[in-house]
């Protein structure tokens, strides 16, 4: 229990803590996604990288634009569902 709470405390600390920082983080992650597609990497790595970046961006929007950072239960719930969605997409991509 305490391990779980310290994990989410750590995850919360890793989120940008203000709107301008959230915005800059989203722009930077979008740029990294675009650059990733230009690199000669394996399709599996490319797909995984792009989807992980999308998941991080979605979490930043949920936490700071939609203000779910104030409710860790809901933020964790949304993150879990989106992670499941990304795993399904990645599985279909690699089939």
């Amino acid at each position: 229990m305490s391990q779980a709470s310290s994990f989410f405390k750590c995850a919360r600390q890793r989120l940008p803590n203000s709107l301008p920082r959230a915005w800059l983080t989203l722009l930077a992650l979008s740029l990294v996604s675009a650059l990733l597609t230009m690199l000669p990497v394996l399709p599996e790595l490319l797909g995984a990288g792009i989807l992980i970046l999308a998941l991080i961006k979605a979490r930043v929007i949920l936490a700071l634009y939609l203000d779910l950072a104030k409710s860790q239960v809901w933020l964790r719930g949304f993150t879990a569902v989106l992670t499941g969605f990304v795993l399904v997409i990645f599985s279909l991509y690699r089939m």
């Binding site: 989203l26 797909g47 970046l53 203000d67 409710s71």
Partner: protein
């Protein structure tokens, strides 16, 4: 009792969250269907995807997240009674939404010029359906942002901004799947 307090933790109106979750499920199901159909013709999907205007779509990501930032900032400003700044931010967010639609329009016009329609390939059926449905939400969101800039009660702005962030969130998941996963 605990259920009530959990629901109370959601910022803003509960109905907005019902809408946000519903929209995410609809688009999520559409994207999973897209990836499932892709299994029937991966090479054809990759070839079709190469016709997309990736640079414009990537730029549109920056446009939407910037617009979302302005909408979120508008709410913060309205809460501290900076009504003028909040209104300007909402109008700015709406204008960026219009920019998104113009870029999307250029993209669709380019496809039409190449003779690419719904019937060209199943990829394009999903492409037009999902991006078109999303663009319709952007259009609605622009109207909502302008409406709440006019009727600028903090609760109205919060609801309008939440709708706009939902549109943003959908694009963040839609863009990599449709445009990048070849």
């Amino acid at each position: 009792m605990s259920d009530t307090s959990l629901i109370d933790e959601l910022p803003g109106e509960l109905l907005m969250w019902v809408l946000i979750i519903s929209e995410l499920l609809v688009f999520g199901a559409g994207l999973i269907a897209f990836m499932a159909v892709r299994l029937t013709d991966p090479a054809g999907f990759a070839e079709a995807q190469s016709h997309l205007y990736r640079t414009g779509a990537a730029f549109n990501t920056a446009v939407l997240v910037t617009s979302g930032y302005l909408a979120a900032q508008a709410l913060n400003w309205r809460k501290v009674a900076r009504r003028g700044a909040a209104r300007l931010a909402l109008i700015g967010a709406a204008l960026l939404g219009v920019m998104f639609l113009i870029i999307k329009g250029v993209e669709y016009t380019g496809k039409a010029a190449q003779g690419i329609t719904f019937e060209t390939h199943p990829f394009f059926m999903f492409y037009y359906l999902l991006t078109g449905f999303h663009a319709a939400h952007v259009l609605a969101g622009v109207g909502i942002l302008l409406l709440v800039a006019w009727r600028d009660d903090a609760r109205n702005i919060e609801a309008g901004a939440q709708f706009w962030h939902m549109v943003d969130l959908v694009w963040i998941m839609l863009f990599p799947v449709i445009y990048l996963l070849g």
